[in-house]
């Protein structure tokens, strides 16, 4: 009886091992059939697409003869809070322009080059406006400050590039609650299912074997007593 149990346990373990090993062997069990999306974009014109060309990126060139915007990036007192991006707006005559609204942009590549609005400010008496900026990604950033014009002053812009070393916390895709736990549960249940199938097999084959084996052993029932 002990040996029987041992063999059964061994069979159970072997089957489980087979299943675990099978994860990688069976078709599609882990690796999903995902065609390469890059080939779509490179090789095939997609039907149903708009034929109108994408909006061309705005040229980042200051219109001539207007006011001037000088843009500078400095590290703040607390670098982890971001960089200080400040713009100085001056008139063609070189005079500081106060009460001017300046919008700050970071040039990003999202469906083509785009200017991402990162903040806006109003200039003070020295013509300075500044924002603090903590980029989402490191590396070289091109910044643009735009002054829309004020009174007789026409619009202008200033650009600068800077190397971002400090960045905002990267986006993390939250694991669903109990993710690890719920991955383990199926294995436990799987063991249970195997045990049940083993029991069914045991009652069927065990009984069949028992009935066949003891067919000629003793007297008929009813002849006892």
């Amino acid at each position: 009886m002990k040996r029987k149990i041992l063999v059964f346990a061994a069979a159970l373990v072997a089957t489980l091992a087979f299943i675990v090993a099978g994860r990688g062997l069976l078709p599609g069990s882990v690796q999903l059939r995902v065609p390469n999306s890059n080939t779509i974009s490179q090789n095939a014109p997609m039907p149903g697409h708009d034929t109108t060309p994408q909006q061309a990126p705005q040229p980042i060139v200051a219109p001539p003869g207007g006011s001037r915007v000088a843009l500078a990036v400095t590290t703040g007192a607390k670098p982890e809070l971001g960089y200080i991006v400040s713009a100085t707006v001056t008139s063609p005559a070189g005079k500081a322009v106060s009460e001017a609204t300046v919008r700050f942009y970071d040039v990003v590549d999202l469906f083509g080059q785009r200017e991402e609005l990162i903040g806006s400010g109003t200039t003070d008496g020295q013509g300075n406006a500044s924002i603090s900026y903590l980029p989402a990604s490191g590396g070289t950033h091109q910044l643009v400050a735009r002054f829309a014009g004020q009174g007789s002053l026409s619009a202008s812009l200033g650009t600068t590039t800077f190397e971002a070393k400090v960045t905002a916390k990267p986006y993390v895709v939250d694991q669903p609650p109990l993710a690890g736990f719920s991955r383990a549960v199926p294995y436990a249940v799987g063991l249970l299912v195997l045990a049940v199938w083993g029991l069914i097999a045991f009652s069927l084959f065990g009984t069949a074997r028992g009935v066949v084996a003891t067919a000629n052993t003793t007297r008929r029932k009813g002849e006892t007593a």
């Binding site: 009886m1 063999v7 065609p35 149903g48 994408q54 609005l117 028992g210």
Partner: protein, 254 residues
Amino acid sequence: MAGQLTRRQLIGTLGGVGGAALAAGFVPVAFPEAVAAEPQTKQRQWAMVIDLRKCDGCKKCTEACQTTHHLPQTFEWIKVFEMKDKTGAQYFMPRPCMQCENAPCLRVCPVAATFRESDGVVLVDQERCIGCRMCMAACPYGARYFNYTDPPVAQNPFGHPTPEFPVPQIKGTVGKCMFCVHRTADGELPACVQACGMKALYIGDLVEDVATNGDQTVRLSTFIQENDAFRYKEELGTGPRVYYIAGHGQLLDY
């Protein structure tokens, strides 16, 4: 009977257990997560912001979606709901697929035909889908559509529909909005975003923290914070990737 172990008994036991395993078809697959075919140059995490202050309910987005994906009229992968609040104020709410980070449809799919791309978009492999419609029962946003009839005839450059370009739809399977990954991979805006005349739809990347409606480009986190964006049925814990900015179609000065 006890003690002795016959060969027959051994085979019986082994066969029983092995057979049981095969019959039960027990091939464990963890919840299907991202397995990208090739690393992209930039790892995006797509998200959408819908500015209800701007939406006027024209349904251009729905039409563009149906054109791009060759869908029948009844398939509104992005559906515009006409809403009324208690004060009688009317507004419109477009509903694409929320591309949930903890997607109920993905978890209940028995064949992992619904899976998540590395960029967070939940796709459907219609060549694997068995059409059990469990995902439709599970989706709290009604974003899934079952192809009861033959879809409109359409050409596909691959000769067959793929998860990234499910055109034409396959009868007997389920389809849904997939953030136009066939277009975004091309560097094109999703069809609905491009078609929106009110520029109410923003497609964005959570990694680079940027979103655009084709005109304006904004810092995604700042934009949703400053405008008190909410996520529809967030309390269900599905982690939707679509943010709404509440509003009534009012005119904005920008």
